[in-house]
Symmetry: C2
Subunit: 142 residues, 2 copies
DNA sequence: TCTTAAATGAGAATTATTATTAAATAGAAA
DNA sequence: TTTCTATTTAATAATAATTCTCATTTAAGA
């Protein structure tokens, strides 16, 4: 039932359930590292030789279109993806370029409160995410 | 004196002041549109034929390194830049992919207040920016 | 001026992404 | 089940974005 979590999501979106799609969604979810296509290929090539990069790009685009995953905004000029759809934020580590998740319920409440009162003229807000730029003390390699 | 604003910034960073650097910084500042290298080239090619794309990439990278400009986090897989360093946020228009500035002093106060109390363990915050995803009502082409 | 380290331009090289198309296959229907 | 067909995949060509290389030019200090 746990392994079927991915199958279910794909099926519910009206997409055909293929081993490639399931594997890509699984890896993206478990890596939880905002990987680009290349990084997903790297992980999958052991269990999945013959998986084409083009398929990875296609699949990620398709899953994003169906809102099963999202595109991550990054400063490195690569397409990056995220399987987490719940409200969370991103720590951008300046030295390494890594993007880590930052969960903060208090912050979420404050933001929701603020934007429920103050709206942006003509603009319908769908999602709010903080990019928090900074660096770890002591080169901590988290 | 106004035109020298750019010269001054470049000089203060310890960089050589070249016409190319001044022009690129000027265009980036005046466009205020989070352009990529290609878009800057497009604008400059009239007044500046012979300006190499490589020079634009180099210059943008150099200026970013010296913190005269910043790299913009985008979802389109391109390197984008911003000459505005003051605290502001970005509206990401879902249909067009455009990134617009969003200034909000009240919001800034709330964020500064919040993060001055609650720190992120081991992490030194340098900048906070909201990515506000959404869309304009009525296809408004701002 | 002269000198020199740094910057530029031109284009090659590399990397990232998209497009094309023949072969394979998921899933609906028989 | 087996058949059928629209979708999906793999392979690779094509394109787009970025970086690299290196000969030439130039900013700026002596």
């Amino acid at each position: 039932m746990n392994a079927n979590k991915y199958i279910l999501k794909i099926k519910e979106a009206g997409l055909k359930v293929t081993p490639q799609r399931v594997a890509i969604l699984k890896v993206l979810t478990e890596l939880n590292n905002h990987p680009c296509a290349e990084e997903i290929a790297e992980v999958l090539k052991k269990d999945f030789p013959g998986l084409s990069l083009a398929t990875i790009y296609n699949t990620l685009e398709t899953l994003a279109q169906k809102q099963i995953i999202t595109k991550v905004q990054s400063a490195d000029g690569k397409l990056r993806f995220d399987a987490r759809l719940d409200m969370h934020h991103h720590l951008h580590e300046m030295n390494t370029g890594k993007i880590e998740d930052y969960y903060d319920e208090d912050l979420n409440s404050i933001l929701q409160e603020y934007f429920s009162n103050k709206s942006i003229p003509g603009f319908i807000v769908q999602d709010i995410k903080l990019q928090i730029k900074g660096e770890y003390i002591n080169q901590k390699l988290k």
